[in-house]
């Protein structure tokens, strides 16, 4: 990898990447320090000012149960981020292992895993997630499992391609020549060299996971109702779109901005980690 200093300096050189980095930082800070930043308790009901418009007291107004929208958005960041990261981890780990095995050993293992992946890829991700979600029932953990499992095929396909191309490199042959076992070759040589495409896919999928959470909650499968999550807030806010549009528009906007930030950052990262490009930035 490039020396630490120049890596960041180069990454930040493109203003769009800088902006997206800022947005992601904001999102992470909001998620981690949620309890400190929230002006009100996101669960506290205050029936008199139900659907109150934005005011000085409540910057973004109140939702249908009189809870402060700003606090719920901040807390929602935590839930959405947690869901995004955990589902990435679930999808990623399963995908990497299966992809690695399929790519490295080839033969029947490869055909079996790849045909299974093709089959799961033939079903749209939202339908897969819906099926799994309904099977498990409505809870935050189940939602994460649903999004994670339905994103596994994408990781398998990416990891297998990467393993097949890395496997034919000379340094992998060299590792065999000096007597490494298959397992050592995989985790010591093939995995580290597939890290960069993996990180890029993960960042772009982070955005995808947040959107999946939103779509699933629209279809009725989101997190338990009292826990604020952006997707649920958008779908619950639908009913009152004419009377209180803020209820849906703001969380929708947050989702878009964060997903946009992750995508731009993902692109920037890919250019950064691509050796051919590194020289020119």
């Amino acid at each position: 990898m490039m020396k630490r200093g120049s890596f960041l300096r180069v990454l930040v050189s493109r203003w769009t990447v800088l902006l997206s980095l800022l947005l992601i930082a904001l999102f992470v800070i909001a998620a981690v320090f949620a309890p400190l930043l929230m002006p009100y308790d996101p669960f506290a009901m205050d029936l008199p000012n139900r659907l109150a418009p934005p005011s000085l007291k409540h910057l973004l107004g109140c939702d249908l149960m009189g809870r402060d929208i700003l606090s719920r958005i901040i807390y929602g960041a935590r839930t959405s981020m947690m869901i995004a990261f955990v589902s990435i981890i679930i999808g990623g780990i399963a995908g990497i292992l299966l992809g690695l095995v399929a790519g490295y050993f080839g033969g029947i293992a490869d055909t079996f895993i790849m045909r299974l992946t093709d089959a799961m890829m033939a079903i749209p991700q939202i339908v897969l997630a819906l099926g799994i979600g309904v099977a498990l029932g409505r809870s935050t953990l189940n939602l994460m499992i649903a999004i994670g499992v339905s994103s596994v095929p994408a990781y398998i396909r990416m990891m297998r391609g990467q393993t097949v191309s890395t496997k034919n490199q000379m340094y992998v042959l060299a590792a065999n020549v000096i007597g490494c076992r298959d397992s050592r070759v995989m985790y010591r040589h093939i995995l580290p060299n597939s890290i960069s495409p993996l990180i890029v896919t993960a960042t772009i999928n982070l955005g995808g996971a947040i959107m999946a959470e939103a779509s699933l909650s629209y279809l009725g499968l989101g997190v338990p109702p009292e826990i604020p999550a952006w997707g649920t807030m958008v779908s619950d806010g639908f009913q009152y779109i004419e009377t209180a549009p803020m209820l849906s528009i703001i969380p929708g906007l947050c989702i878009m901005l964060v997903v946009l930030a992750f995508n731009i950052f993902g692109d920037g990262l890919r250019d950064m980690l691509d050796p051919r490009v590194r020289g020119s930035l």
């Binding site: 299974l116 093709d118 991700q125 959107m211 997707g231 549009p245 849906s248 901005l257 995508n263």
Partner: protein
């Protein structure tokens, strides 16, 4: 070439079989079945048992799957528990609706996507490139249903230009049909369009840096000729691969959009059936979605043969 096609066909059939097994397995895992739902509180144990037997719900999961599969080979996709009508004739109407919308979205996203992708790749780093890439990035980040509702408020409520919902057969009233289809098609197409632009751009950039493009330039050909005859023909291969994937993305989009705009398509039927535990209809929908996606990929694989001579005579040298 034919050998290559036959090989791909075999693979497609195998994958389709696995698709049906996966969807049957998921439906099996979902607790509760249509019978309790249907009979309501009047469910006397004998009545429930009788209905379950008639629908083969009492048999073990694997047996039921093979009965369904057997039926499939005889061309009968089973009867819907809910609408007690054959799945085929429920699906046929809904299929047309979804295909019309999906196909229109595919055409738009492909045509516009590829041309914008090429434009932004050709003047790399220029104004147009940044502008197109920026909007493409936004395009993939917007959740479909949120955009749908924004469209409804903007066009239907405030500007009262387009009808809010509903679906009229094109044969009945073509003008009304198109007006109703404008918003759903655009909302479905946005996501697919944006990812198409991004992928075409990287495919074209990759091809521009190849040696034969330098040779073409060295031959003194005009830039436009180089782009058309040399760059695009070679960039077509990765773009085709992407096209196969687009069909899957569009089906996902359609499921959401049909619910917002009350379009009676297959996506909405599928979601309802999952919640109604109407297994045969779910199987029918997923089977058709699977078939379409697999056929799309098959067509893409075959078109490789025409575009790239190297693939035509595949010899598997061990």
């Amino acid at each position: 070439m034919t050998q290559y096609i036959v090989k791909k066909l075999f693979q497609a059939l195998l994958v389709l079989l696995i698709v049906t097994f996966i969807s049957y397995l998921i439906m099996e895992l979902i607790p509760g079945d249509a019978v309790d739902f249907l009979l309501g509180l009047e469910a006397t144990p004998e009545k429930a048992a009788a209905l379950r037997a008639s629908l083969n719900l009492d048999k073990p999961f694997v047996v039921r799957y093979f009965i369904w599969l057997g039926g499939l080979f005889r061309g009968d996709m089973g009867t819907s528990i809910f609408y007690n009508d054959s799945v085929a004739n429920i699906l046929v109407k809904k299929l047309l609706v979804t295909f019309r919308m999906g196909f229109a979205a595919l055409i738009i996203s492909t045509a516009v996507g590829i041309s914008l992708g090429v434009v932004s790749a050709v003047n790399r780093g220029g104004f147009w490139d940044n502008l197109i890439s920026f909007f493409a990035n936004i395009g993939i980040s917007i959740p479909a249903f949120w955009l749908g509702i924004l469209f409804i408020i903007l066009f239907a409520v405030k500007m009262k230009v387009l009808p809010v919902q509903g679906y009229t057969e094109p044969s009945a009233d073509f003008w009304m049909h198109t007006r109703q289809m404008v918003m759903p098609v655009i909302v479905t197409a946005v996501g697919a369009l944006s990812s198409m632009v991004r992928q075409t751009r990287s495919a074209v950039l990759e091809t521009i840096s190849q040696d034969y493009v330098r040779t073409a330039r060295e031959k003194g050909l005009r830039e436009r000729v180089i782009l058309m005859k040399h760059v695009l023909r070679n960039a077509l291969i990765p773009i085709l691969t992407l096209l196969g994937m687009q069909v899957r993305v569009l089906f996902g989009g359609v499921v959401i959009v049909e619910n917002i705009f009350a379009v009676p398509g297959m996506g909405r039927l599928l979601v309802n059936s999952v919640f109604n535990r109407d297994i045969t209809v779910v199987q029918g929908c997923i089977l058709i979605m699977g078939v379409v996606v697999i056929i799309a990929n098959l067509l893409v694989d075959i078109s490789y043969g025409f575009v790239d001579p190297r693939i035509r005579e595949i010899k598997d040298v061990a």
